[in-house]
Symmetry: C2
Subunit: 480 residues, 2 copies
């Protein structure tokens, strides 16, 4: 029944109504309710390291503090609290600004930081990068939205998105009124990508009258964690050139790699390595962030995207849209500078920075194993190893009786399972349906972020819950 | 000729192509070019106080620094650099977070800060406010975009926007594919708003098949500076209730008022004061920010919007959209807390906070006068007093010959004038056409932000340029 309101929930932008984002959806809202009622909740629904006890690195935070309060550096006592290299670094970043962190910067971000990002890319890949093609954003998500907004002209424009995917993509495409074109990753092949599957997906979409304009891939993957090889990336690039598709490389987890067989290699490096004509033919957008890696600075909102081989007027159009919100937050931009231009051997703070960052990286690697092994030790649960990123995405083989009970409760089966897990253990996850999954399979996404200290207890908790759940809903046969 | 690119500038989202945002448009880009060539530029194109020498207030920045580097508070020397109340305040805000400023917060912002915003509203207006209806955002602009995105369903949905307006509104409405419905302010009546003009505008729009859903007003006005009376606001509210329109109150300049006849009064206060049924009938969204006032913390990106009388499910939909980008930057949220919950009499830092803020407010008031008087002393220039906000918006009566020269140069007349002003004096302004103006009139927007020290020189510079320009293009008659 109509409420009489102008903005009645039925009378909103249809795309807003249709949009779904499960990472802070039903499970999270239920977990928050329970938390308010006093239940202890372990939030493993989002990659938010500091919320689970990971400490920020010291040096970057010293510099950030000095940038917020530059007058500290006029005080003779400043050296008692801050090392000389943090003081120098703060002055370095402040000199890039016109008036400090409280002034709007260039709409694409401080030119000085963009230069440092370009230097980082050159150092990482061996190929030069142009700061004029680099945009700093309030987190990578805003950059993704901006590029998709320019790309999607109407509902006939499609963007290829891996299934399972991080639902920023499905939500944003829906919000922009475009069409999501799914391509399925192969769980049995370590969540591998297949060019045949991409071809199938594109053919099917075109048959339906969709103009496929973009292809998103996440490397390392979210929620799936797989790391792509140089060969994979080469094939992807050739495919996009052939099919005239813009390639969007979500590489925000490039510093979260937990095996040595497939180290991170950027799409841009592979592209440049192919030489002309390919290296000049593909329109590539690459995304990165301060939120992940070992910094884990989610709350600062520092991201960038780099455009390769884009028409200069298109870059101008993206600049124009950036300018409407004037500028990304300057403090977050400085954190981006600090990420791509860290302390070097010989710097006062280098040993501490090295020690802190290595400890976190090693611990994440360890926890990737603990969690994978823990899930694989559970009945009816199989879990691919978390090669990279921050998540574990086990497959739970739900018995028929559980599927039926879920249906009766009006819930998708994996939502049902995750709600029961939450009520029993306080572990707040995101059901696989939030990311997309092959029909008939069910998954759960957690993060590998709970501390090493807490993790064994959490896995025990999960194991017990799962055991009880499987016993409760065991297939009739197995109960005999 | 087609470039062969997938994202050829012709093949982008039409709404992106059509969007214009003059504040960082042609004049700004030309000024930036000249600056790179070594010319001294005075940027008065955007309300960016710190870029023109205004200092941040000390206490908030002390707290922000400690929030970035909480480990400082473990150091016995911390009291040498930070007063006890800043330390306590930092602990206060950090206790609201789950893991400090590097962790994503609730998608609507830290509940603790939203409570402080609600307290501020109660104290300001005398009516209670619910934190559940308050959303913190990365600057007020993002909040405006979010609300408009939900409101605008298709190109037939219209939003009333004052002319002249701050072009965030025209640009965002275009980007979202809606229709801007202009209502003209009356320059001769101090940029006053007229209900008759609103009625005319709505009638005209409806005649064209537009469904008018929203009404934006900016109080104090941008670029026009006028402050609305309680009567004005009452009429506006009644009009919106009658016509079933959502009222969007851009009140970001509420702490920038330079006369005493019309102090700031919030739309919400007037609405609540009307009592039921009106006080429950109007859907009102109110916007505020840390960017203006005396803090001027543009680069931090801290804003909020408050929804009054919205359907709870609509609030949920807006929450859902917020959740896709996970959370606004936490540091900016803390700055919002610091703004609405400043030092109080008795606090150690209160005298300094009072002195610093009063100095800035008094100086802005002084500069509002200097600038208005300066413009009014120029030939063919008339300028309404800047009652509030941060801008001066003089009308320049361009001689016919100048209009002809502009046409010959392929420029709008006020763009032509502003470019010449820039080349001659380095003063970078925004032409009135960027904000909208009555046909046949020409305006220039500058800010009142150049320092008191610099301002006389700037006004002299302008006066001389204008004199020379008017002499060059004098009407034939007056040359006799």
């Amino acid at each position: 029944m109509a409420s009489g309101k102008v903005m009645d929930p039925e009378n909103l932008n249809e795309n807003v109504k249709k949009t779904v984002y499960a990472v802070r959806g039903e499970l999270y809202l239920r977990a928050s309710e329970l938390q308010k009622e006093g239940k202890k909740i372990i939030f493993t629904n989002v990659g938010n390291p500091h919320a689970l006890g990971q400490k920020p690195l010291t040096f970057p935070r010293q510099v950030m503090a000095l940038c917020q309060a530059p007058f500290l550096m006029d005080d003779p006592h400043v050296g008692l609290l801050f090392p000389a290299d943090a003081i120098a670094k703060a002055k370095h970043y402040l000199s890039m600004t016109s008036g400090g962190v409280g002034a709007y910067s260039d709409s694409r971000g401080l030119p000085g930081v963009r230069q440092e990002v370009a230097n980082f890319i050159l150092q990482r890949d061996g190929y030069p990068s142009d700061p004029e093609n680099i945009f700093l954003t309030d987190g990578a998500s805003k950059g993704v939205a901006q590029v998709l907004n320019a790309l999607i002209r109407d509902e006939k424009d499609g963007v290829l998105v891996p299934i399972p995917q991080y639902p920023l993509y499905s939500a944003t495409i829906q919000l922009l009124g475009g069409t999501l074109v799914p391509y399925y990753l192969t769980e049995e092949e370590n969540w591998g990508m297949s060019i045949n599957e991409l071809r199938r997906s594109v053919t099917e979409a075109r048959r339906k009258g969709i103009c496929v304009r973009g292809l998103v891939f996440i490397n390392p993957g979210n929620p799936t964690g797989q790391c792509l090889t140089e060969k994979n990336l080469g094939e992807l690039i050739e495919f996009c050139i052939q099919e005239r598709i813009v390639l969007m490389a979500d590489e925000v987890y490039q510093q979260n790699v937990y095996q040595d067989e497939r180290p991170f290699i950027s799409a841009r490096k592979v592209l440049m390595g192919m030489g002309p004509p390919a290296s000049e033919a593909l329109e590539l957008v690459s995304f990165h962030t301060v939120s992940k890696g070992f910094l884990g600075e989610c709350g600062q909102r520092g991201g960038y995207f780099e455009m390769t081989n884009f028409h200069p007027k298109t870059v101008d159009e993206l600049y124009k849209v950036s300018s409407i919100a004037l500028s990304p937050n300057v403090s977050g931009q400085i954190m981006m500078g600090l990420m791509v231009n860290p302390p070097k051997p010989g710097d006062i703070s280098y040993p501490q920075y090295e020690a802190e960052s290595k400890a976190i990286s090693l611990s994440l690697r360890k926890r990737a194993h603990i969690m994978t092994d823990g899930f694989n030790a559970c009945e009816n649960v199989v879990c691919n190893f978390t090669e990279g990123a921050m998540y574990s995405f086990p497959q739970v083989k739900l018995p028929q009786a559980a599927v039926a009970a879920a249906k009766k409760a009006g819930k998708a089966p994996d939502v049902f399972y995750c709600l029961r897990l939450l009520e029993a253990t306080g572990i707040s996850t995101v059901p696989g349906s939030g990311f997309g999954q092959k029909e008939g399979t069910f998954h759960v996404r957690t993060t590998i972020l709970p501390s090493e200290k807490d993790m064994p207890g959490i896995m025990e908790s999960f194991k017990k819950f799962n055991q009880d759940f499987m016993a409760q809903y065991a297939d009739a046969k197995s109960k005999l």
